[in-house]
Symmetry: none
Subunit: 144 residues, 2 copies
DNA sequence: GGTGCAACCGGCATATTGCCGGATGCATCA
DNA sequence: TGATGCATCCGGCAATATGCCGGTTGCACC
């Protein structure tokens, strides 16, 4: 049960695309009963493999300003910070990285004001030690 | 109805953290009936504001290593550096940013060795003043 | 062969959803 | 002013999904 087997991987790949799918439908797709499927999903949640379920929010308006927030934490890991980041619809991508930095956060906001607000919110989070903001001036290379 | 009002924003912020919450509970939290809440959510989905619902997976698949190269240039802009970066197939995205940094380069390589080679190549480019490498340990949030 | 255990299944009571008709507020316009 | 259209809201009912349970199976370990 410690292992993540092929069925678990199927579950994860389905849920990472359609998190609100009923357990019954999920069960049908992977060929298990509903109760076995529910047990597996519950186990994955408890084990921390599934951290939660998020709505994927598109841009609210003309989200044209993109920026990188380079975050150094006081302690790692910090689930609290990640959860709060996930709550901002302007947060597009968060990567935990090695080295001096801890998190690279890519954001997309509608205005400099919004960016400043977001920056402040993140900077004042408990576990955030340091925060550098870099606004994207130009996208030079972008490959699928 | 084209507008996204305060209630919609509340809905989005709740769903971006608990995407599997029953509509009935969501309705209770925002103080509307279930049917009105469902209508709003459906509208947000159709409008593309909600792009989907994703399970937040806490582990990374093996195989490719992703990293950020945070580049400071001696002079900006530097077409030469951009051209040479574009020549590496492992370079996925390059952003010119404001502030202390100049470029944020996202790369994807097959091994630590490949990353080190790439790092060396970039670090020794003429116009590169400073280079910080941060390996992505985990992708915490990713929205299309 | 007995015991413990993880994983599976189905069933029943309860909770949630999909879908409907109908009320309300509001702008438009003859 | 009163009729019309429309967006938004509400509650109700049947269909569906969930939570929770007991029971079965396969397997490792004495």
């Amino acid at each position: 049960m410690q292992d993540i087997d092929a069925i678990d991987r199927t579950i994860l790949s389905i849920l990472s695309q359609e998190a609100r799918i009923p357990m019954k439908s999920l069960a049908g797709r992977i060929g298990l009963s509903r109760s076995a499927t529910t047990e597996r999903v519950t186990r994955l949640e408890k084990a921390g493999v599934i951290r939660g379920y998020r709505a994927d929010i598109g841009q609210l308006e003309e989200g044209t300003i993109q920026a990188f927030l380079l975050v150094t934490l006081k302690r790692t890991p910090s689930i609290g910070v990640l959860d709060r980041l996930a709550g901002f619809s302007s947060v597009r991508k968060v990567s935990s990285v090695s080295g001096q930095l801890d998190l690279v956060v890519e954001v997309e906001v509608g205005s400099i004001n919004a960016l400043n607000e977001l920056r402040n919110e993140v900077a004042t989070m408990d576990n955030v030690e340091d925060l550098t903001t870099s606004i994207v001036l130009r996208r030079d290379i972008e490959r699928s």
